[in-house]
Each structure stands twice: as structure tokens, then as C-alpha cells.
Subunit: 240 residues, 2 copies
DNA sequence: CTTACTTCCTAACGTGACGTGAGGTTCAAG
DNA sequence: CTTGAACCTCACGTCACGTTAGGAAGTAAG
């Protein structure tokens, strides 16, 4: 009957001694024997059990789940498998989506102007909005293409115009100016052409934007936009 | 100049108050002002910064990385992006592989005999070995097909035979019996036919197995197999 | 002004799966 | 008998917060 000490088990399995201590602590694997001086002594069965633990861990189960799987005979592995598959599929979807976004950002940054922090945040913001579920693939591509075609001076100018328009709308809205007022209509015309420049198709963009703002109506949005203000702008644009 | 309290910020951003406390603690976002009684008071700029933090977090960066990205102007976002892409790609690969294995296990269990724990571990073990890099896709499919075609009685029998053979080889090896001894040659013949049953093509299987045992030569393997014993068996089989 | 309710504060522990010491004991070899 | 390796038990650190606990401040109504 061969007996192993903790360091040998560690070598055989590729785990660390600390890990084996941990498994002992949480009751996942108590060695069969303990020497009178407290040294852990493992036997064949322990090693086998440990291999099973390692396999299950590699499948992504938590130590708690591994424990239940191995000790509770009534525990249903099939159910756990389904659960795990669902978890992992969802996870994979998120990771793939994330990768796409990172890739977009990377390629926009890479062939763009020198890396300055504020521009980086702009790109990140743009990608995150255009990649949200409210915008179609085509629209996202459009926006990105237009963005890349501009140099930093043009982008700065565009952002300024955007900011001006929004604060213009906001002050009129707070003054109570009606949407059909010439001042507001002028803002609306500039607004529409500004967005048309940026995204190509205003109507489609506005549908996407509306859905976006509906989803985020209670949140503060970039440039000081919010749901209420967007409604004001929308009505004004319809009056043109 | 609008000022927000911590609860309002939480609502606007969808974070919790505790999270904002945390960001304050670690110096990621100190609110612009603090009331004389210690209440946190945020201004527009803080909100903007917070939005940036949220975006970067969604891209999978740690709070530490976010902090560096936002405060250290010399910090290179491109480099970090590359790093992050590499990380995520690796991660995705692992997850996809894991999903495949889980799916294999699931379908084997699902259409198999009633779920008993020891059989579950067998399946897991089998899938994990056959899916390791040493085995070809085709070989893995072979092994799995053969496995599903057996009922639990046959599987038990097979495992027993396997165990008997291995312990037979081991005792001969430890006695110092040479590989060309008739007793060993008989074991070798049974060994070969046993594996041929299980995997179809013995030569291909043995190449895979050899590569597998080379990789795990210093580890204890299922059924009490190890690298040294495998070499003994291999030589014996060649003598047939 | 009191009461009651909400929001805010700090402080401290918990999560998961260990890593990383500190400080001391035991084992195996020379 | 002495060394050095391996072992032991605490116990704190990781990461991004969640979750009480206990109390102070702010706000609205009576």
C-alpha cells in the first residue's frame, strides 16, 4: 500500500501544496491518514479522487459544485451540465461581442491620428454607442467610416457644433420656446444636416437614436443629452 | 452649476452607492466636493469621468487599468488594447474548447444509460483524454462511438480487463521479467486486442498514446498507469 | 418643534480559489 | 549531530464590490 506525502501529490498532479491544504480545509479532499505529527498522508484512492476533482474543475465547475457532485449521490450531473452549458454559451457570446468592439476600436485607433487620450475616449464612446443593439450593422459601419475619414481638426469641429446645438436646444427648451419657433427650426435644420453628415441616412439614424434614448431615458447621456431634450429636438425636426 | 448626491449618481448610472464609495476609496473617482458633514457632492465633470470609467470597464479592463488609462497621460492605450485582445482571444479559445467537451459529455450521458455517478466520471475522463491535443478528431470520434455502443455491463467488463492487464504488466515489470517472456507476450496480445476493440486503429492509437504519456510521464495516470510502465508495455507489444 | 422617513456616512466582514509569507516542527541524509 | 528540505499552522492579500451594523444628516408632514 503506497503512501504519498503532500509534496509528492503536488508534483504528481501539478497542483501546489497550498492548493492541497485548501482542499483539505474546505473538506473537498481529506487525506486518508494523518501522521501523529500532523503530516498529510495520501493513498491511492485519494489520488484517484483528486484526479476526478481536477477533471471537474477543468470543466469549469466551482469547488462547491465539484464537492456536491462527488459526495452527494442524489445530485444530478445532467442538470448541472445543462446549467454549465447555458452559462458558458452566454459567456462566449459576451466575449465575442466584446472582442468585436475591441477590434473596431483598435483598427480605428491604429490607422488614425496619433494616440491622444481624449481621442481614445471618443472612439471608445462612439464604438460603444454604434455597436449597441439599437443600431444596425450597416449604420454602425457608416458611422465608423465617416469617423475615420475625418482628421482630428474636423472631428473637433464636429464635436463643437454638436455641443453648441445641444446646449442651444436646451436653453430654448428651458425658456419654453415652442418647437415651431424660427430659432428652434434653424437649430433643427443644422442638427439634421450635422447628423446626416455623420451617419448618412437621417431617418434610419433617428429611429435608432429614438430607441436608444427610450432605453436610456432616465440616464445622463454624453454631451448633456437626455430623454426629455431628445423629444424636444425630435418634434422640432419634424416641423422643418 | 448642478450638483448631484451619491444616490442620484447611482440612479443616473445604474451603479450602486457602494460602488461609488469604492471608486472613491481607491482613488478612481473622488467627487469634486465634500459637504462639511462628509457627504459626497458630484459635478458635471465627475459624471463625465464616471461614464468613461463605465465604458472602459465594459471593455474588460480592471479598475487599476482604467485608473492608469485615465490619469497617466503617457500611458499608451494601443498597447493595452493589444494586450486585452490577446487575453480575450485566448480566453475565447479556451471557452470554445470547453464547450465542445461539455457538449460531448452531455450527449454521451443524455442518450446513455441512467445517470450514475461513477459512469459520469468515466465519461468525463474519457472525453478529456480523447479530446486532448494528442488525439486526432477522427480518433476521438472513434473512441466515443465505440463507447456509446456498449451498455454498462460491457463497459464494466472492459474496464476490468484493462485494470487486470495493467496490474499484470506492472507485477511482471517489477519482477524483472523481460519483454519477450511468453507471459508478457500473452498480456501484450490481449492488450492490443483490447485497445483495438476500443479505438479501431491500434497503430494510430499507440502513437497518440505515446505522445500523451510523454507529456504526462511524471504524473500518475488513470488505472495506475505511468510513463515507465507504458514503455514496458510498448516494447512488449513490438515483440508480438 | 417634533416625528418619521429617507439618504447619507464610516467601518468591517464576506465572496472564490488560492498565493505568499512568518515562524516553527519534523524528516532524511551525511 | 547537524544541516537542509519538506512539512505544519496561522493569517493576511487578491478583486470588485455586496452586505450588514450603527449612527448622523437631510427632508417633509403634522
Amino acid at each position: 500500500m503506497k503512501i504519498w506525502r503532500v509534496g509528492e501529490i503536488a508534483q504528481l498532479t501539478g497542483l501546489t501544496v497550498r492548493t492541497l491544504h485548501h482542499y483539505d480545509e474546505i473538506g473537498l479532499l481529506h487525506p486518508a491518514h494523518t501522521s501523529e505529527k500532523g503530516h498529510r498522508l495520501y493513498v491511492e484512492d485519494d489520488l484517484q479522487r483528486l484526479h476526478h476533482i481536477i477533471l471537474l474543475k477543468q470543466l469549469g465547475f466551482s469547488l462547491e459544485e465539484v464537492k456536491r457532485l462527488m459526495t452527494d449521490p442524489a445530485f444530478n450531473p445532467l442538470h448541472l451540465l445543462e446549467h454549465q452549458l447555458a452559462r458558458i454559451n452566454e459567456h462566449i457570446q459576451m466575449q465575442l461581442d466584446l472582442r468585436d468592439r475591441l477590434n473596431d476600436i483598435y483598427s480605428l485607433m491604429h490607422r488614425g491620428q496619433p494616440v491622444d487620450p481624449s481621442r481614445f475616449m471618443e472612439v471608445v464612446q462612439m464604438i460603444n454607442i454604434s455597436r449597441s443593439k439599437h443600431f444596425s450593422r450597416e449604420m454602425a459601419k457608416n458611422i465608423q467610416r465617416n469617423y475615420t475619414s475625418m482628421n482630428s481638426e474636423q472631428i473637433r469641429e464636429k464635436n463643437e457644433e454638436f455641443r453648441r446645438l445641444i446646449s442651444g436646444f436646451r436653453s430654448e427648451m428651458e425658456k419654453g420656446t415652442p418647437e415651431h419657433d424660427p430659432v428652434v427650426l434653424d437649430l433643427a435644420r443644422r442638427w439634421k444636416s450635422c447628423l446626416q453628415d455623420a451617419a448618412g441616412d437621417y431617418d434610419q439614424l433617428s429611429r435608432s437614436a429614438e430607441s436608444y434614448y427610450r432605453d436610456h431615458s432616465d440616464q445622463a447621456l454624453p454631451f448633456g443629452m437626455d430623454g426629455e431634450l431628445y423629444q424636444f429636438i425630435r418634434k422640432a425636426v419634424l416641423k422643418i
